[in-house]
Structure formats: C-alpha cells, structure tokens
C-alpha cells in the first residue's frame, strides 16, 4: 500500500490493529472510526474492507444496515428526540416539529447548513419514566416540551455565537 495512503489513514490503521485485523470485529472497528470522524466516509470504508480482506460491498452493507452508523457527516450537536411509545403518547411529535421549524430542517434534511445541528429521532432511549425525552450529544433531558426544546437550541446558538459578538 502506498505510504501516502497509509499516512492519511493512520488513525484508522491504529484502530484496525487494535482489533487484531479481525474481520469479525468489523462493527466495533466501524464504531471507533465513527467516533473519530463523526461519520463513515466512503474512502475509509473501502480502506477498512481492503485491510480486513472483505469486499467494500460487505462493509457498506453492514454500515448501512445499522442505524447507529452515519454515512453523511453530522452536525456538532446531535439532537436525538425519543419517539418510543411512552414519549409518543406524550406528544413527542410536537417537539420534533418545533425543532424542525426553529432550525429549518425536515426528515429529509436532518443537518443544518452550518453543520451545527443534526436532528434525528430514535425508537427508545429507555428513559420512559421521564417522557418525553431528548438527548443532545450525550446529555439526557427529560420531561421536555416544544418550548423547552427550542430554548435549549437557543442556548447552544448563543454559546456558539458568543466569542464572535
């Protein structure tokens, strides 16, 4: 393999080595790569396939099967709104619509142009006792309303704009 390419994928190489070049470890490998890049770029997946002796189609097949893997870059703040049964019956839909409206997003366009926010729904976060629930990156917010959700977004926007003002 050309050295230039190896250097470009240095981090990926380290992750693959850590898992002993084992094709059975494909999912943990992709998970760690995604943590590094925040999504799975196509050329990285091809590189992983080559290193593990798999076909690129097989790697892409796995990556596209699991909801956790992102094939497109995501925003700096990933807002995951729970749409599990408990959250659903407590009107999570209204919260989603409020977020979409505030950020000008939709199910088809989940990430803002400035790459600051991605809004997605998840089936259940397992915090049903606090329904409706929303997670911003890793922080869980319980018993939210459309107003509280939008206020959280405003807070982040203010924080991000802060130094420039």
């Amino acid at each position: 393999m050309p050295t230039l390419m190896l250097r470009k994928f240095e981090k990926v190489c380290a992750i693959i080595d850590k898992h002993g070049n084992d094709a059975a470890r494909l999912i943990p490998i992709l998970q760690e790569i995604q943590e590094e890049y925040r999504y799975l770029p196509e050329e990285v997946m091809t590189f992983v396939a080559m290193s593990l002796g798999l076909s690129p189609a097989k790697v892409f097949g796995v990556a596209s099967f699991y909801a956790h893997f992102a094939l497109e870059p995501k925003g700096k703040y990933v807002i995951r709104l729970c749409d599990g049964t408990a959250c659903h019956v407590k009107s999570s839909e209204g919260i989603l619509n409020a977020l979409y409206k505030r950020l000008g997003l939709s199910a088809k366009v989940p990430t803002t142009k400035d790459m600051l926010f991605t809004v997605e729904t998840v089936s259940c976060l397992g915090a049903c006792g606090l329904a409706p629930v929303m997670v911003v990156n890793d922080k869980v917010y319980g018993q939210i309303s459309p107003e509280k959700a939008v206020a959280l977004v405003e807070d982040i926007v203010k924080k991000e704009d802060g130094p420039n003002v």
């Binding site: 956790h68 049964t85 019956v89 259940c124 869980v140």
Partner: protein, 631 residues
Amino acid sequence: MCELRDAAEIVFKGRAGLRKVVICTGTGCIANGAMDVYAQFIREMTTAGFNIVEMFRGLDKVTDPLKSIYLSKSGCQGFCQMGPLVKILPEDILYNLVRPGDVREIVEKTLGSGAIIERLLYVNPVNKERCRSQKEIPFYQRQSRFVLKQCGELNPEDIQEYMAIGGYEAAKKCFIRMTPDAICKDMIDSGLRGRGGGGFPTGRKWEVTRIQADPKKYVICNGDEGDPGAFMDRSVMEGNPHSVIEGMMIAARAIGADEGYVYVRAEYPLAVKRIRMACADALKEGILGDSVFGTGQKLHIHVMEGAGAFVCGEETALMASIEGKRGMPSPKPPFPAQSGLWGKPTVINNVETLATVPLIMGMGIANFRAIGTRTSPGTKTFALSGHVANTGLIEVPFGLTLQEIIFDVGGGITDKKGRIDPEGFKAVQIGGPSGGCLTKEHFDLALDFDSLKSIGAMVGSGGLVAMNRSTCMVNIAKYFMQFTQKESCGKCVLCREGTKQLLFLLEDIVEGRATLETLDVLQELAGAVQKGSLCGLGKTAPNPVLSTLKYFREEYMAHVVDKCCPTGECKALAKPEILADKCKGCTACVKKCPVGAITGEVKKAHTINRALCVKCGVCAAVCKFDAIVGV
C-alpha cells in the same frame, strides 16, 4: 445456602452512628441532575467536616463513625419521575426532587442533627400525607422487589460491596460444588422462564446446550432491549451489573462454555460502561479469567455494543451481529443450542433472566416457586409509562391483576394535562410493537405468560404503556406499524413489503381515504404477515393492528365511515368543537388561536370556524374548563 445478606446490616454492624447517603444515578436521575447533587454533597460534607467514604473498602478505615458518611451511588430505584432521589440510612429517609441548592440543608439538618426536611418528602396524592421512607410510598407498597432489590441499594461500580452481601457465592458454589447436570436440573425444577418475551423454560434451554458434544460453547447475555417503552434491562445492567455477570457464569458452568458475550444496545451508554467495569473488576478478583475461583476452569466475558437495529434482539440476528455481519435472522432449526455463535452450541438469555439465576441458586427452588403463579414462578419487572400518575420501573410477582398494577402501583390514569382522571382509562399496551392491548375487560386478569397468551397478547419484554381516553387507538396501531416497518431487516418479502402495505392502509384510515373494504384487506394482510415471516419481528408485527381491531373496532369505524377521529389526534379527521355548556367565555382560546378561527364575546360561549381551523390543538391546551373537544 448462600442467600444474599442485607446490605444495610453489613454496612452498619459495629459502626454505630455511621450514616449512608445513597444517591440514585440511574439514567433518569442523572437526566434530572443527580451528578450535580452528588458533587454538591461532597462539597457540603467536606465543609461540614465529615469524613467521606465513597467505596465499600474504605469503611474498614473508619475510626469515628459519628463523623463519617458513606456516600454511595446506586442504580435505578424506579421512581424516575421524582428524581434525583436521595436516601439516608439507617433512618431510611427518602428525599425526592433534590436540587443542588437543597444539599446544604440536608447536610446541616438531617445529617447534622437528625431533623427531617418535610418539603423534600414525597406527598401521597391520595391522602396528602408526607411519606418519610420508601416503604410508605404507595408506588412501592404493592411491589415486591426481588431482582431489583439490590438496584437502589448497592453501588453498581463497587464489586466489594456486591461480594460483601454474598454476591458471587452462588456462582462459586456452582463452579466448586455442583456438576453441570445438577445445575441444569435445578434450573428446570425452578420453573424459571425467559424474561425476554417468549417465556421459554431457561433450564430446558441450558440442558439442550449442555448435552451437545462440541467442546467449544458460548453463553450470551441479550441486552439489546429495543422495545420502545421498555427499560428494565437497562436498569438492571446499570443498577446491578454484577448480578448479570454472575448469572452468566452459572449458565456458562451449566453448559460448559468458556467464553461469553454481553450484547448491549448502543443507546444505553451507562449500561455499557457499568457492565464493562463489572467484567474488568471480576477479572481482577479472579472471579472471571483463566482460572475461575481457582478451579482452573476458564471463562472470559466480552462486552459488545450494538449498533442500532431492533431486529438484533432476535437471537439469531444478534449472533450474526456479534460475528460482524448484518443483523439478519436465520431460520430455526438449527437452534442456537445446537449451532449458534460461529456454529457452536450457544445459550442466549435475557438480562433479567440471568439476574434472577443467582437469586434462585441462593434462596433455593422451593422458596422461588412460592413466588408468582404455578406456571410462571417468580417476579417480573415492568416499565410502567404513559398516562399514569407514577411512571417508572416496577417489579411485581406474576399473578397480580392489571387493575392492581395500574391503580395501586401506578396511582391511576392521568388526563392530557397530567391530572388524575378516574374515568380516563382506555387501554394498556403490553409487550411493545409485538404485543397487544388490554382493556377494561381485562382488569381482573392475573397477568402471567399463559394468561396473556390466551388473550392474544404477550408479556414481551415488559413494557406497559397506559393510555387515557384522549389517545386514538388507530393512531397507536399506525405508530407501531411505522416502527416495525422501519426496523424490518428486509429479508422476508411478507415482512418487508407486508408491513409497508399495512402502514399505507393505516395511513388511508387516519387520513380519511379508507372504505370498509380497507378494514378487510388490513385484517387479511395482517394474518398473512404473521404466517409468512421468518422471525419474531415479522410474525408479531401485526399484533397491535389485530388487537386494536378486535377491541376498538368502533374507533376504526368512526374513522372509516364517519370520517371523524373521536379524540382529534388524527389531524385530517379532527372535528374540533366548543361545548357551549362548559365554555365560560374567558377568551383565552381566542387570543391563542394562530389563525383567528375562534370567535365569541366575553362571558358568552365561543365558536370555532372549522374552515379556518388548522387543528393545532393550542385552544384545547389553554382551555381551563375542558370545553374544547375533538382536537
């Protein structure tokens, strides 16, 4: 016998005057700020001059119990809605909704002089009395916490505490003094059935795997709890991870496995962290590793994080996922017991099932069988959520009735605005997207595996979502179909295409395009998907549709024939109306309506112009007199 000892007794024996402060750090309480409360306790206790002990081992160094506090985190105590929860022992005081600003007062008054802070106690909504301890709270009174007993008492991140109460002794007994076939026989006799949904006898599963000739075998813990509305496995993994590991060890010994996997959903980062920590600590103690309890027998347990696919809760799909493949189910037979992970005999059990195993080995079969019903011994944890006063994690013996769960434990049904509504009950959805709904006619049904099966529902993983009368059942059926349609892996035509068509039919109904024929097609196709799918996901996907069709046919008829959604949830068919006898003419709705569709004079009944109305529901939300209906 190696029954678990009382955690409090171990801590306080010979240390008179010592106090233990337990802060719930389940996902729910953390979301409500439990970690800030914990940090504040450290600051305030330090200021007040207390010697803080954070790990069980540190108790040995306590010289002045009166000036020492054992500050501990715990797993989920179940009452998520009232979090963060702070428990003070040995007095057994439970404070709820504790904010960092309350901590100084707790340290000064309760820890300093033993005084109780009334405003932080839970108020019983029925008699308005304040409950001093957990035992006085009605939510807990009807429960019997068995698997969850240690969640909320032990520090899940401290193996020493688990061992001090007798943890890992059941596993030790199995490894040192019991033969694999004796363990399998005990499990069969105990009558334990899988808590993951199907209710298959655990002992039989183990026995079939034990007798396989292959020397390499695996044990897997299925922690891919994907049912929306279910979170008991998360709570057990977060709250008492060592009990899960111990259960896996006993299973491994029973079948002769030397390697195991815990497969945890990626959506549960805290559970992943705590299970990983538990495995590492057990390895350090020589409980896991190359020589388990010094017997020379090997057992290594790996933790694998899922990647977000509901179908991976199905055992063959889960194993494909561990092997690094797309998580698609494969036909059975061969069963995992014969040919599982990498073609080797494999036992795969659910989290709650495994956590029950050490308790059975400790307490003895007869004692275990005394709990629950004859065919379903033991307890079941349920995640109670939706429109009930008390939401959270509960554990009850099998055989309790639906009425007892909803009204005694759950505290009754709430309306749209969160107030108790004695007449509000409509249905309970049990078993998630694979389950069905229970109605008023099932109030007296004693819930267990067999009684639920007999009425076309299932225990499933144990999600119980209560729904009040403002919930549209057709919309709920559509919601579940959306879920299974999205999660169908695409392998079987009937599941992949059938669920899509079922969803289209339901959309036709809620958007007013359906005819009576739609209902017949819906019923017929639902039956076909049930028969023609390979795995549990497809086979059970039509259950919510069939069950709502059976019990709430009149709601379907209203959508199809009258083109009206009685609850107003289906916007296309909502027919908002102001009840003239209830409207006081306060004009609150007039001011809030975004399109000016409501008119009326002060102190006179208002009217809605349906031609202008966008059915946003804001008016109904602001009305204090419940005068606006149908939206």
